[in-house]
């Protein structure tokens, strides 16, 4: 697949010239800037309680106002941002790796093992993902790690399906058969042919899944099951701000805006990656 034509456009160049990718990059930079300002330049810590300033309006001292305990909303939001990004990424990656291994091995090994995996995948797909995540996090209890685990379960069946169908196709394709006839062992074939052909689709699906992962994590925390106070999360900040919506309506604008921006950025990222990979396949 890889040729050394003199004026070959690299995959990254294609990506950089994609409008969606540029938009995504811009939005992530904005959130990054927000985080830098919120952690480094704002003089209050996210846990500092200013009890003489409870539920104050946004002003020059508290840019986004304060919450019911008098904590600075700006720095609390900023402190939640890296968690939101890291948790959504970790949730997808854990599910993706686990699911891919299951799917690829299922297609490669076949027989009863493959059938078991297929049935398991169908069962997981038969449950609405949010219900599965709610149940698992409910059973495990609240916390960041447990939330990540619950959300990662959503992605296992999707990636198992992808891995299995792709490996099934590849296994019977000419170059894999040729490779086997040349005496290459299964590990070699797996590494050289299957993994390398699986990689582009894998990353596209990971990127597409980032937004739903973030949404699920935020939703779990919003429901009071995922990340619970005193730990900050965009979801539980939003649900808390809703309780005070009539007294301090400015509080819920911050978390809402950051959630929407992050999801839009993730969606644009997924869009650009899938476009780039598609374009290369059709050219």
């Amino acid at each position: 697949m890889r040729t050394s034509e003199p004026n070959k456009v690299s995959r990254f160049d294609v990506l950089l010239s994609n409008r969606s990718f540029q938009l995504s990059l811009g939005l992530y930079s904005f959130v990054g800037l927000f985080w830098i300002v919120g952690t480094l330049l704002v003089p209050h810590g996210p846990e500092d309680i200013h009890d003489q300033f409870v539920l104050t309006r946004p002003n020059s001292q508290f840019l986004l106002g304060t919450d019911h305990l008098g904590r600075d909303q700006f720095s609390r939001l900023a402190s939640a941002i890296p968690y939101a990004i890291a948790m959504s990424g970790a949730g997808v990656l854990i599910g993706a790796l686990f699911g891919s291994v299951l799917g690829i091995s299922a297609a490669y090994i076949g027989r009863t093992y493959e059938k078991t995996i297929v049935i398991l995948t169908n069962v997981l797909l038969g449950l609405p993902s949010i219900m599965l995540a709610i149940l698992v996090v409910g059973v495990l209890g609240p916390g960041r790690t447990k939330t990540i685990l619950a959300v990662s379960l959503i992605y296992i069946p999707e990636f198992a399906r992808l891995g299995r169908s792709l490996t099934g196709h590849l296994k019977s394709s000419g170059f894999v058969i040729a490779s086997r006839l040349m005496g290459h062992g299964p590990v070699w074939i797996l590494r050289l042919h299957i993994i390398s052909n699986f990689r582009p689709s894998f990353f596209v699906l990971v990127a597409i899944s980032l937004s739903t992962s973030l949404l699920s994590i935020t939703a779990l925390s919003f429901l009071g099951l995922g990340v619970v106070p005193p730990e900050t999360d965009l979801g539980n900040m939003l649900s808390l701000s809703l309780e005070y919506v009539s007294l301090a309506p400015w509080l819920f604008l911050g978390p809402s805006a950051i959630i929407v921006i992050l999801v839009v950025a993730a969606n644009f990222l997924g869009d650009s990656l899938s476009k780039t990979v598609d374009a290369r396949q059709t050219v």
């Binding site: 609405p128 309506p249 819920f252």
Partner: protein, 317 residues
Amino acid sequence: MIYRVIGRILEALGVLLLVSFFVFSIATLIPGDLSLQLTGVDGATEENIMRVRAELGLDRPFIEQYLSWIWNATQGNFGNSPLTNRAILGDVNAALPVSLQLALFGLIGATIVGAPIGVFAAVRSSSRLGQLIRTNLIVLLSVPSFVVGALLVFFSSRYFPQTYRSLFIRISDNLMENLKVMFLPSLALSLTLAGVVAQVTRNALIQELNQPYVLTARAYGFSSRKVVFTYALRGAVVQILTVGALLFGSIVGGTVITERVFALPGIGNLMVTAIGNRDFNLAIVAILYVTVVYLILNTFIDLAAEKIDPRIRNMKS
């Protein structure tokens, strides 16, 4: 056809059985059961806990618990919730219509808003406007249900207090009052789902418009309107239906959150409350109800797709 229908139903029942086993095992095998909560902190002596566990049947082996549970379930007996001491079946049956109504209204609203946008974006997909809509759809898709719900609660309570109702009225009690209560939640859900509907419609229609038969129809000189609405849309509907599974996930997710935001006594709200109380007996049944709805819908969609699109019918027979 009748054999296919029966086959599909059996298949769905099989999946349901496996899902029930899966959900039951998640909820049962993981440590931490109700006995501590029921005895209370003061009464949590070794003896008391053992007594409660025996009462609930939690001391029996897992497979026995599951078999007796599924045996009772087939007879419509899910027992009482150990926490509230009310019949689980009654609670869930009362909650399901609320959720179904919300989901239906939400979907109808989303189709009214989303489908025309999707068709327009597909027909004009190569123009600047089409691209602009595509980009905006991604943004619209990204606004989560809780944000939409939060915004609506805020704006309605502040500027249109007459639209905001905090007391729920059942549809069987008073239709008009019920519709007033359901208005805002349905609107919230519609707005969340509209992006998904538009996106799915657009993608399906574009794929259909690239088919050779569309080119043929255009070559025959049929008007663009006729090509799109009579031929391509019909093919696209099948695709839209088959990705309904994808839509269903968003509908359930949106419904759970919307019920929570607007405090509607639906099945999502019931389930989240049950999970919060570690009342897994109730939560499992709520999940299974949703799974049943999903399986019925899925089976129905598959059969309907065969009915609408002769290509699928011929492919399978």
